[in-house]
């Protein structure tokens, strides 16, 4: 059983992502409503993929990616950025910080599933 962490401040978006990737099967999903919550969630589980929005209050997605990629415990966990097309500059920065892939909202269920599968190597 693999596990995924979804970080987005929109509850409905989290649910949408969750129901999409749960269809992949054999996947435990966890949700965090802010970067702050994500930091709390990280040590609680061994995650196989992290899906993160960039624009969040307080601690944003870039800061989470940087944290993950500079932490020996998490640095091999692939991070998928979900953002809207307007955040282009930030998306680039996220990729530079070591994100595995990015998706631009609105994305299709299949795009999301395919990307997550790739990240999980399945």
């Amino acid at each position: 059983m693999k596990s995924a962490l979804i970080v987005d401040d929109s509850g409905v978006t989290r649910s949408l992502i969750r129901s999409a990737i749960e269809e992949i099967g054999d996947l435990n999903t966890f949700e965090a409503s802010s970067g702050f919550e994500a930091l709390k969630a990280l040590p609680s589980q061994s995650f196989d993929v992290i899906i993160v929005d960039i624009n969040m209050p307080d601690i944003n997605g870039l800061e989470i990616i940087n944290f993950v990629k500079n932490n020996d415990q998490y640095k091999n966990v692939p991070v998928v950025i979900v953002s809207t097309e307007s955040s282009e500059e930030d998306r680039k920065r996220g990729m530079k910080l070591g994100a595995f892939a990015y998706l631009t909202k609105p994305f299709t269920t299949k795009e999301l599933q395919d990307t997550v599968k790739k990240a999980l190597n399945i």
């Binding site: 409905v12 624009n55 209050p57 940087n66 944290f67 415990q73 809207t84 920065r93 909202k105 609105p106």
Partner: protein, 659 residues
């Protein structure tokens, strides 16, 4: 998991509400955090609507987002015109959401989008931020900053603020409260630009945070105020610091560390779920009734033994706890008036602009709480009253000056609890009602007899009579065809009442008294034809059986003699045009008091139960004699009779007896 339109609507409405209250806050002064939260709201809306395939909302929020992005990045100046423009377009966005919610066709907004694009083109200035390299922030930090954070860094630097880094290490298991405290300390000194978590050089089981922040204070002062973190100065404040500090205080009247909290301490719950809990509690109340009954039967059978006393005691404590539980759930449904105020403020802004009047809107009692459903229901009546005040009440500026009045008109709205009710008053300092004209019009329209003599107060209340408002009065602001009668009807159907006081030349005050919650009431369920109806117990004086031959007809009206008095009868089946069963005997429910008592004839009495009255939907709301609907048992909807209007009906309609 199934994510429905309803989830979308709930989140979208919440976003709009937050955006609007942030915009209102911005009116009081610029604050980068607040502006950023407006941006994030619209940004989330765009992402969300895109995922739901809602093209109109998504492209409108996209265009708006670009403007807001420019604003927060300092490419467009934030002034009143810009704010108004954004307010207006958020309204358009809100309408689209309402259309989706009501399954209506979503209007085409391509023109609006073009307009926004044009606005953005015109408002964008070419000024570039200074180079970030001059500031001296290390690359390892710079590369993690989002574009917005980078802009805030440059902007603070340009204003001559000092740039600092606060480094602290917390335990991984419990860093939240300490980080929150640090955040609010730093916010009181200046602006927190970025919060960077880090695990480098931090012991196992801990987490480090580097907070990049700005302040006009010197490093020594900062250090003395922040003792629990290592402070590193990246660039020192410029000499004009004293001035910018004064600025800073003006700009951030309330720096709220609450933003961190709100995302962690509140949950959003569908009100239907609360209703379900309430219904379950209702069923528990019935179960409790059974325990009480068993207790008394036991004590009748075997007398007061320790066992029977125990049952009594348990039944009592069960009753107490259940009452507590009911109250607690009702409390969960409460929302502060500030939610209503936010929405009304926008209406006032918009309409004052349209009619070119100058009006201050003052609000008091925003912490007063009211049931969420009630809050939704009273918005329209309130808007109507306020529109009336703006349109007919407050005079044009010239006229006000000529009358020796304050140049700007004032509308004051207050909400406050009063006993078991909430009172909302809306007062304007405008022209007041022209009572004589209203009286005259009521006579012209044959709404009252020509020779009617009315007290002043009664004349004022004529504005609530249906059919009084005229076409001549229709303006863009007051809307079409909606009169004060609708306002009264709505409020009455919610279990409240409206009063009005007016002084010619000095203004008008409406006062709405409302129940705090759509409270639970006891009701009797009666069967008529094949329908069930609820009658609130408070309006029932007695019930009895009426035999057909006891019914007499006096002056064309069915009556029955009871204890030497004549009680007029009203066949509920006839009132609602249901098929009448001819029977030998009926049940009569005597409602009302004294000389205005009426006996409602029904086929059968079923049970007593506790109900929550809910307002009627569009299709039923115009039917006379219904107060609302209630859910009883498992998903069975029962209509609740409006005893007052039934009695009025009974006394006004002489031909009630068709047979």
């Amino acid at each position: 998991m199934n994510i429905s339109k309803k989830d979308f609507i709930a989140e979208a409405e919440e976003i709009i509400e937050n955006v609007n209250s942030s915009l209102l806050e911005l009116q009081g002064g610029f604050n980068p955090d607040t502006l950023n939260s407006v941006f994030r709201g619209v940004h989330t809306m765009k992402g969300l609507s895109g995922l739901f395939g809602l093209k109109g909302i998504s492209s409108l929020s996209h265009t708006l987002e670009s403007v807001l992005d420019d604003l927060r990045l300092g490419k467009i100046d934030l002034n009143n015109d810009t704010l108004n423009f954004i307010f207006h377009n958020i309204d358009v966005l809100k309408n689209l959401i309402t259309q989706i919610n009501e399954d209506k066709e979503v209007e085409d907004v391509s023109d609006v989008i073009k307009e926004i694009e044009k606005f953005r083109e015109a408002a964008r200035s070419k000024t570039e931020d200074s180079s970030v390299e001059d500031i001296g922030v290390s690359d390892s930090i710079l590369k993690v900053l989002s574009e917005y954070e980078e802009h805030r860094l440059k902007s603070n630097f340009k204003e001559g603020k000092g740039i600092f880094l606060a480094k602290s290490v917390y335990e991984l298991t419990n860093f939240a409260p300490e980080l929150e405290a640090m955040n609010s300390t730093l916010k009181s000194l200046g602006e927190v630009i970025a919060t960077l978590p880090s695990s480098e050089g931090v012991p196992e089981g801990s987490i480090g945070f580097n907070l990049l922040f700005s302040s006009s204070l010197k490093i020594d002062e900062v250090k003395s105020k922040v003792s629990s973190a290592d402070i590193e100065e990246i660039s020192s404040p410029a000499r004009q610091a004293a001035v910018s500090e004064a600025d800073q205080h003006k700009q951030r009247p309330t720096s709220q560390p609450a933003s961190l909290k709100s995302s962690t301490n509140t949950v959003r719950v569908d009100i239907e779920k609360l209703d379900k809990i309430l219904n379950t509690v209702g069923e528990l109340v019935l179960a409790k009734g059974a325990v009480v009954r068993i207790g008394s039967e036991l004590s009748e059978d075997i007398g007061y033994t320790p066992l029977t006393l125990d049952v009594h005691k348990i039944a009592q404590s069960l009753a107490r706890k259940l009452a507590e539980l009911q109250n607690q759930i009702l409390e969960l449904r409460m929302v502060p008036f500030s939610q209503i105020f936010t929405r009304l403020s926008q209406v006032v802004r918009r309409y004052t602009r349209e009619v070119e009047k100058e009006i201050d809107f003052e609000l008091f009692g925003e912490d007063t709480e009211i049931d969420k459903l009630l809050a939704e229901e009273i918005i329209d009546p309130l808007i109507h009253i306020i529109r009336n005040s703006i349109d007919h009440g407050i005079e044009l500026t010239d006229k006000r000056l000529a009358l020796g009045k304050k140049e700007r008109g004032t509308i004051t709205m207050k909400a406050f609890p009063k006993g078991n009710n909430v009172v909302v008053t809306i007062r304007d300092d405008g022209a007041g009602l022209d009572v004589d004209k209203i009286f005259q019009k009521a006579i012209e329209r044959k709404l009252i007899p020509e020779d009617q003599i009315l007290e002043l107060k009664e004349k004022v209340e004529l504005i609530f009579i249906p059919g009084l408002s005229t076409k001549e009065e229709v303006s863009d602001v007051s809307g079409r065809g909606v009169g004060m009668d609708i306002v009264k009807e709505r409020i009455t159907s919610l279990g409240g009442f409206v009063e009005v006081e007016s002084e010619k030349g000095a203004g008008t005050e409406f006062s709405l008294t409302l129940p705090i919650t759509l409270a639970i009431i006891k009701a009797l369920i009666a069967k008529v034809a094949n329908e069930h109806f609820c009658i609130p117990l408070t309006s029932i004086s007695e019930t009895f059986i009426v035999r057909n031959e006891e019914i007499q007809t006096i002056e064309g009206r069915e009556v029955i003699e009871i204890r030497g008095e004549m009680l007029p009868l009203l066949r509920v089946a006839r009132v609602f045009m249901l098929e009448e069963e001819l029977k030998d005997e009926y049940f009569a429910i005597a409602v009302g008091f004294g000389s205005t008592r009426v006996g409602l004839l029904v086929d059968n009495l079923l049970e007593q139960t506790e109900i929550i009255i809910k307002p009627l939907g569009e299709r039923l709301k115009d039917i006379q004699g219904l107060a609302g609907a209630a859910e009883i048992g498992k998903h069975e909807i029962v209509l609740v009779l409006d005893v007052d209007s039934l009695m009025e009906e009974s006394f006004s309609r002489k031909n009630i007896n068709g047979s």
